[in-house]
C-alpha cells in the first residue's frame, strides 16, 4: 500500500485583512488607546486614593483566600507544656527532596519521655518546594503546614532561613482533622535501676 504524503490538518482560520488593517497605523493607535485609557483610569484612581486594578501590592498585601489544604508555611507544633513536639528524628530532613531542613539534636536525660529534642531546626525557604513530604514523614505530628505562605521577599538568600523560634509561633486551638494540643505521651510507669 502506497503511503500518501502527510497533509497537515488546518485548525485555524486565515483572516483576510481589509484596507483598514493593511493601513497598519490606525489599528496600532486603537490598541494603544485601549491600554492607555485603562492605565490612565487606574492611575487616576490610585492618585485619588481609591484602589484601581486587581493588582496586589505584595508584600504589604497578601491573599486571604488560600484553600484549606494549601501547603504554605511550616509550623512546629508544641506539647501542652510549650516545648516543641519534635524529637529531632530527622525523618523530615531525610525525606525532603530539596534537602532544606537542618536539625541539630540535643539530649536531655531529665525528660524521660522525650530525651532527644531539637536545639536548632531551620528551613531554607529559598529552596523549599512546598511538597509536604516532611509533614507526611513526621512520626510525631510535630510539623504541619499552614495555608498561609511564608512571605519572605528578600534580595538575600541567607535571610530566607527560618529558625525554630519562628516556626513555633502557632498554637491553633481547634483543628477538626488533628486535635490540638495532642494527647500527652505515655510516660513509663516505673523506672527500675
Amino acid at each position: 500500500m502506497s503511503r500518501r504524503p502527510h497533509v497537515r490538518k488546518q485548525y485555524w482560520n486565515e483572516p483576510e485583512m481589509g484596507l483598514w488593517e493593511k493601513a497598519y497605523l490606525p489599528e496600532i493607535l486603537r490598541g494603544l488607546w485601549i491600554t492607555g485609557s485603562i492605565f490612565l483610569r487606574n492611575m487616576g484612581k490610585w492618585v485619588t486614593g481609591r484602589k484601581g486594578a486587581l493588582t496586589t501590592y505584595y508584600p504589604e498585601e497578601t491573599r486571604w483566600d488560600y484553600a484549606q489544604a494549601n501547603r504554605g508555611k511550616h509550623v512546629l507544633t508544641r506539647r501542652p507544656d510549650g516545648t516543641p513536639q519534635c524529637v529531632a528524628c530527622n525523618m523530615c530532613a531525610t525525606v525532603c527532596p530539596a534537602k532544606v531542613i537542618e536539625i541539630e539534636a540535643g539530649f536531655d536525660p531529665a525528660d524521660a519521655a522525650h530525651p532527644k529534642y531539637p536545639v536548632r531546626f531551620e528551613i531554607d525557604y529559598s529552596r523549599c518546594v512546598f511538597c509536604g513530604l516532611c509533614v507526611e514523614a513526621c512520626p510525631e505530628d510535630a510539623i504541619r503546614m499552614a495555608k498561609e505562605v511564608p512571605n519572605l521577599p528578600s534580595g538575600d538568600r541567607w535571610s530566607m532561613w527560618l529558625a525554630k523560634e519562628e516556626l513555633l509561633d502557632w498554637q491553633p486551638q481547634s483543628d477538626v482533622a488533628k486535635p490540638y494540643p495532642p494527647a500527652p505521651a505515655r510516660v513509663p510507669d516505673g523506672e527500675r535501676g
Partner: protein
C-alpha cells in the same frame, strides 16, 4: 576435613569448626546477634538456627554458632521450619524492645532493625505491657546504656572478659529484668578499649556519649584512615558528612569539615576489629586550632613569599640541620629525602609523647611510641635522638613537639607546623602545613606494616602540602609549592 552441604552447596570445612564459622568462611550468610568471630560462643540469641536433615527425611533445628560440623551433614539456612523458628525468635527478642528507632543513634546500621525487616516484618503479637527499664544509664563517662533496647546478647560483657580483660561489665538480675551493669570497682571506666562495645552492640543499647545525637548515620560516610595515636597504626574509618548532606545554614560550615566519629576498620594484620579509646578521641586531636597563615618572624606573610624566603635561607646556610616529623607520611618523607638528600643533617623527632593519665603501653594494641610513622622516618633518616650541633646556622623544624630552647640562638629557624601554637611566631619563617585528613598517604607501623590513609576534606587556602613543599624549598631556581 569434613565435607558438608549447606543449602545444596557442598563445602569443605576445617575440623573443629562450627557450622557458623564454615558458612561465614564460604560466604554463606547466617544471621546472628550474640555470636562474634572474636568472642566465645554463648548461644543465647537463637537467631542463627539452621535446619539439619535427618536420615529418615525429616529436619531438626539447631543453632549454627555452637554446632560442630560433621561429615556428610546437610544444612538448610532457609527452610520453612527455619524461617518459622527465626520469626518466632525475632518476636521474642523484640518483645520488650521500645521501638524508638526515631531517636536511636543505631538506626540505619542496627542489626535488630535489619533482621526485623528480613525475618519478621510484623507488629508485635504480644498483648501484655512491655517491661520498662532504665533509659539512660551512664555506664561510664564515655558510654550511655539504654536497658530497654538491650537484648542481653552479652557481647559487651564477653568483650571485657576476653579481649580487654578489664572484667568491667556484667549482667545482673534474671530473665526480662536482666540489666548490663558496670562493675563497682570502676574497672570499666578505666578500660582503655571500652568504646569497642559500642560497635559490637547489635542494637542501640550502648551509645557513645560524645557522638550522641550528633548525626543520623546515613548523613555520614567513612573514609579509610590510619590512627596516628601510636606506632601501632590501627586502620580506622573516619566518619564525616556526606557531600549531599552538607549543612548549608549560615554559620554551620565548620561542621562539614569535622570528623564526627571514629570506628575501627577491620585489619587482621594490625588491629583486628578493635581500636582503643584514644583512637575514638581523634576528632579532638584533629579538631585543634589550625595555623592557616604563613609568618615571617611572627608577622603574617603570603605563602609564596614565605616559601621564597625559606628557600633562600636554606640555600645560604653553611651548616643546615633538619628535625623531621614522625607524623609525616612515607610519601612526604621520601619527598624530603629526594629534595634535600644529604644537604641537611636530619634527625627524627617524636612529635608526641605520652600524656599524663594515658595508658602508655599494653599487651593488646597500645604502644609506648605515640607517633604513627617513626618506623618510616627512621628507615630513611636513622634513629639518632635529635642533637642539634652548636654550630648549626639553620634549623628546619617539621612538625610540632620540639622544644625551641634546644636550638642554638644564632641559628635561623624554618618551621613547618599545622597547628596554632606559640612556637610558630618564634620562627624566622613559618609555613602552615596540611594535616592527615587533608591528603592521601601511608604510614609504616612499628612492625613494618604499611597502611594507607585517604583525604577527607580539602585543605584550607594558604596551607602547603609538605610533599610538594620540600621540592620547592630545595629548588635553587624556584618552583611552585
Amino acid at each position: 576435613m569434613p565435607r558438608l552441604t549447606i543449602d545444596g552447596r557442598e563445602i569443605e570445612a576445617k575440623a573443629g569448626q562450627t557450622v557458623m564459622e564454615a558458612a561465614t568462611e564460604h560466604g554463606i550468610f547466617i544471621p546472628y546477634f550474640c555470636w562474634h568471630p572474636k568472642l566465645s560462643v554463648p548461644g543465647n540469641c537463637r537467631i542463627c538456627v539452621v535446619g539439619v536433615a535427618e536420615k529418615d527425611g525429616g529436619e531438626w533445628v539447631e543453632i549454627a554458632c555452637n554446632m560442630p560440623v560433621s561429615e556428610g551433614m546437610v544444612v538448610f539456612t532457609n527452610s520453612e521450619k527455619v524461617r518459622a523458628r527465626r520469626k518466632a525468635t525475632m518476636q521474642f527478642i523484640t518483645l520488650n524492645h521500645p521501638v524508638d528507632c526515631g531517636i536511636c543513634d543505631k538506626a540505619g546500621e542496627c542489626t535488630l532493625q535489619d533482621y526485623h525487616y528480613e525475618y519478621n516484618g510484623e507488629r508485635s503479637v504480644s498483648v501484655d505491657a512491655k517491661v520498662h527499664a532504665t533509659k539512660h544509664y551512664a555506664l561510664s563517662n564515655r558510654i550511655v546504656l539504654d536497658n530497654e533496647r538491650c537484648i542481653q546478647c552479652t557481647r559487651c560483657v564477653r568483650f571485657t572478659r576476653e579481649i580487654s580483660k578489664s572484667n568491667g561489665l556484667g549482667l545482673v538480675n534474671r530473665a526480662d529484668h536482666s540489666l548490663v551493669r558496670a562493675a563497682e570497682d570502676g574497672s570499666f571506666a578505666n578500660d582503655a578499649y571500652s568504646d569497642n562495645v559500642i560497635d559490637i552492640c547489635p542494637v542501640g543499647a550502648l551509645l557513645s556519649r560524645s557522638f550522641l545525637h550528633k548525626a543520623r548515620v546515613w548523613y555520614l560516610e567513612p573514609t579509610a584512615s590510619v590512627c596516628p595515636g601510636c606506632s601501632r597504626g590501627c586502620t580506622v574509618n573516619l566518619w564525616h558528612r556526606r557531600p549531599e548532606w552538607r549543612l548549608k545554614a549560615p554559620g554551620m560550615q565548620a561542621a562539614n569539615a569535622s570528623v564526627d566519629r571514629v570506628t575501627p576498620l577491620e585489619n587482621p594484620a594490625v588491629n583486628g576489629p578493635w581500636i582503643c579509646n584514644k583512637g575514638r578521641d581523634l576528632p579532638k586531636l584533629l579538631g585543634r586550632a589550625r595555623a592557616e597563615v604563613a609568618m615571617l618572624k611572627g608577622k603574617p606573610a603570603d605563602l609564596p613569599g614565605a616559601i621564597a624566603q625559606a628557600r633562600s635561607l636554606v640555600a645560604a646556610a653553611r651548616r643546615p640541620v633538619a628535625i623531621v616529623s614522625s607524623w609525616g607520611s612515607n610519601e612526604e618523607l621520601a619527598a624530603f629525602k629526594a629534595a634535600f638528600g644529604t644537604r641537611l643533617e636530619a634527625f627524627v623527632k617524636a612529635d608526641h609523647l605520652p600524656e599524663p593519665g594515658e595508658v602508655v603501653e599494653d599487651s593488646l594494641l597500645i604502644r609506648a611510641d605515640k607517633n604513627p610513622n617513626t618506623a618510616g622516618a627512621t628507615a630513611l633518616f636513622g634513629d639518632r635522638a635529635p642533637a642539634i650541633p652548636k654550630d648549626a646556622d639553620l634549623v628546619l623544624v617539621w612538625g610540632e613537639g620540639l622544644d625551641f630552647g634546644l636550638i642554638p640562638p644564632a641559628a635561623k629557624i624554618v618551621y613547618l607546623n599545622a597547628w596554632l601554637q606559640p612556637e610558630n611566631g618564634h620562627a624566622d619563617v613559618f609555613i602552615p602545613t596540611s594535616i592527615q585528613t587533608e591528603r592521601d598517604g601511608h604510614y609504616t607501623n612499628f612492625a613494618g606494616v604499611t597502611s594507607a590513609f585517604s583525604k577527607c576534606f580539602a585543605k584550607p587556602a594558604g596551607v602547603a602540602d609538605a610533599e610538594t613543599l620540600f621540592p620547592a624549598l630545595a629548588a635553587a631556581g624556584g618552583g611552585a609549592p
